[in-house]
Symmetry: C2
Subunit: 460 residues, 2 copies
């Protein structure tokens, strides 16, 4: 019996794909210029079927690449080693919104925004809010420890995952954690798996903490004459003692790509950079008061203007611009995204350095990101100077590495929220010592002794 | 050369103890009736010295039991296997309060309250607040993932640890994490070590997140005619949509032991149970408004009264009673503490069941704890019925196991915040499957292949 036939015995024949056309969507994520073809795609419909697929692969020593929505930006779900793509898209049910305990129980294929909406209907709040919330999956958020817009106040996905059902590469199913707000009963398996990019286990169910839904929300937009002045604004915001629910930075080119993609006008489109600040709270007066104080602090350090949006629809318009920057970049440029993160006080230095790196490599540079977290998405854009593909690849590779080195030298790290996947793997040793990498390898072996799960990812 | 002499070459001779009297404090923690003598106690003064001690122990295959302040309640720092006690009490410096990034960098031997005070002086807030904050160490908090009073709003210690310097059993020093608010760059070593009770690595430095210091704080005390009615009050509090910064439950006997120990009168001492609710926020009006709403909700479900304390000194008096319950129990009774945790909606059932278990075993029962987290410290107290030590040990062992089984059946766990250590180890298999335990063993081996670090703890 062939491998597809054996897989079909586990999932039923309609959920095993081998022909070129249906397999194509499973060959890539959002990383430009990266794709790889698996031998077969399987779409199991239950934890038991996931277990069956993994057991089979384990016995044969076949590579398995788990996959969510494919919205990642470092190739973590691209099947670079061939073998089996294990798609979790059919595990897409919200199993429970538990109001009494304020937890959601979901399968990994639930779209993040769908979960947010279901929680809001129950008067609750699922805080993690990646830019791709309309298409990304909760399972992918867990495996990359996704941050997003609201991490500055509510933390990253890791802070919201309290329980996981997961399958080890040999097919063993384990339940860890649950609906307990605290649990000091053995090793934190849940916390070890979050952010492991599908290299340790396949998650088939998650228990996610919900919070009370904030009653009010408001946005402020502040343009600046210089990018590094906007970066300074981050410290000014925190200086007020208010923790915003979002604190985003966008340079002129980011706003430009977004506006062009969305076919919309955007306020202050000519400003060198803008800060988008969101505040949430118990009522409109509190939120407005907070925004006023933040606005004053920003004007004081040189903001050209301050624009307040209290109307919900206007807020959504502004957020939409922020959310489509990456789509604009993808549509209109050849680029590479570097997901730098530094302690937030070092953001100004990072911003200056990446401009220097871009100039030194004859690249354009488009910066935006979660300034309140010190997390800057640095996008190097191909220019006329890169007249051949080879030149482009050499220049951007060099700029990428220089950026990682700068971030690490500033006390930062390789990736704030996108992960390592394939594209950041060459730089792993810049951030981590041999001893740390050795320990990670032993942890990998503790979960995946045969090394079948997502090979070629994360660890060098 | 003898082992003490070799250790003295690493730390200097004044920091190696072998004689009975100086060693005695290192033989026990706060667990009644549990003590074990090490061969030698060593008190290194730096990461390098910790590394030297571990390297020596690793080469010889000697057991090493790391130790903080010894305020634990499950024997995690008791050297049951003999060998070396590695005390971290000399690593007691606050290295930095970084205002710009809102992080503290500390050594593990810093007393938790000392850190809270240093943060507050800088206008910042270290949120974790264990009952023993005046004597426990930050390092111990990290290793047990301590919860405490404010976990209901701010999470457990794990939610505040962003970076660790740690030493592996073979002496290897690793730095993981740092001052980045987010970091998706490889496995979460920090998150794996938190809560591992000194069985994976010895922490010598920690980077801890600080928050803005809440401007105002208020307390409400509500007596109830029945314990399970107080437990119901937990849902009533969350029903208001307000997340309190503490939500504690105390039964009559708990209040009684505390009052006797503190030699103070306590309001509503005759009530069957009380809820202590703390709210923090941006200003006194907001806090008072929240407390009023919570008070009304509690009166509605049957609270006998509601007492508001807005004055700081009065608040501290009330907190002191809550904090000395455990000391009162220790001073006046023979007892065993079971650190049950359940999803908070199941607290009422847990409370009822433990009363039944106590009655069935002729034990008294003293309950208090972090009701908002579903975390109930159930204390079984010896009565005249246990006329021999053997009878006491048999009865309390049986009641303990029954309690763990009830908690797990309610979707709960063995320990909410005290950990497993020695005393909860026999019950590990009630909570975790063989497969999960096997995975934890492999993680243990990834860190500690020779099994020298804190043997006899956590894993069965």
């Amino acid at each position: 019996m062939s491998l597809p036939e054996e897989l079909a015995r586990i999932t039923g024949p309609g959920f095993v794909l081998t022909a070129d056309e249906p397999v194509e969507p499973y060959t890539h994520d959002e990383t430009q210029g990266l794709a790889a073809r698996p031998d077969v795609v399987v779409r199991p419909g239950s934890t038991e079927e996931v277990s069956g697929v993994l057991r089979l692969a384990f016995e044969r020593g076949l590579p398995v690449t788990p996959r969510g929505a494919g919205t990642g930006k470092c190739g973590a779900c691209v099947p670079v080693a061939g073998g089996i793509v294990l798609s979790l898209d059919r595990l897409n049910r919200i199993l429970e919104i538990d109001r009494e305990n304020a937890f959601a129980v979901v399968e990994p294929g639930v779209v993040t925004e769908t979960l947010q909406e279901a929680a809001a209907e129950a008067g609750l709040f699922y805080a993690p809010d990646p830019a791709s919330k309309g298409s990304c999956h909760v399972g992918g958020n867990i495996q990359t420890n996704a941050g997003g817009m609201r991490a500055v106040k509510y933390g990253t996905t890791a802070d919201h995952v309290y329980g996981l059902t997961f399958v080890l590469p040999d097919g063993t199913v384990i339940e860890a954690g649950g609906k307990n707000r605290k649990d000091s009963s053995g090793y934190g398996l849940v916390r070890t798996i979050v952010g492991s990019e599908g290299t340790l286990a396949v998650v088939t169910r998650a228990v996610l903490r919900l919070l009370p839904l904030p009653a009010a929300r408001g946005i402020l937009l502040a343009p600046f004459p210089e990018l590094d002045m906007a970066a300074e604004g981050v410290q000014a915001v925190f200086g007020t003692g208010i923790t915003p629910s979002a604190l985003e930075i966008m340079d002129r080119s980011a706003v430009g790509y977004a506006a062009r993609y969305a076919e919309k006008e955007f306020p202050f489109a000519e400003a060198a950079a803008q800060l988008l600040v969101e505040v949430d709270g118990d009522g409109p007066e509190e939120v407005e008061g907070d925004l006023m104080r933040i606005g004053e602090a920003l004007l004081e350090i040189g903001a050209l203007d301050v624009f307040l949006a209290s109307e919900r629809r206007r807020q959504e318009d502004l957020w939409r611009i922020r959310r489509v920057i990456a789509e604009g970049l993808k549509a209109f440029t050849t680029y590479r995204s570097v997901d730098s993160v530094v302690p937030r006080s070092r953001l100004i230095e990072l911003v200056r350095k990446v401009r220097e790196i871009a100039a030194a490599h004859d690249l354009d540079c488009c910066c935006f990101g979660h300034a309140g977290d010190g997390n800057l998405h640095v996008n190097y854009v191909r220019t006329a100077a890169q007249d051949t593909v080879e030149r482009w690849e050499a220049d951007v590779r060099s700029a990428h590495e220089a950026t990682v080195r700068v971030a690490v030298a500033l006390g930062g790290s390789i990736s704030g929220e996108h992960g390592i996947g394939v594209t950041e793997r060459p730089f792993f040793g810049i951030r981590h010592t041999e001893a740390a990498i050795g320990l990670m390898r032993r942890i990998k072996a503790a979960f995946d002794p045969r090394g079948i799960l997502n090979p070629g990812k994360v660890l060098p």
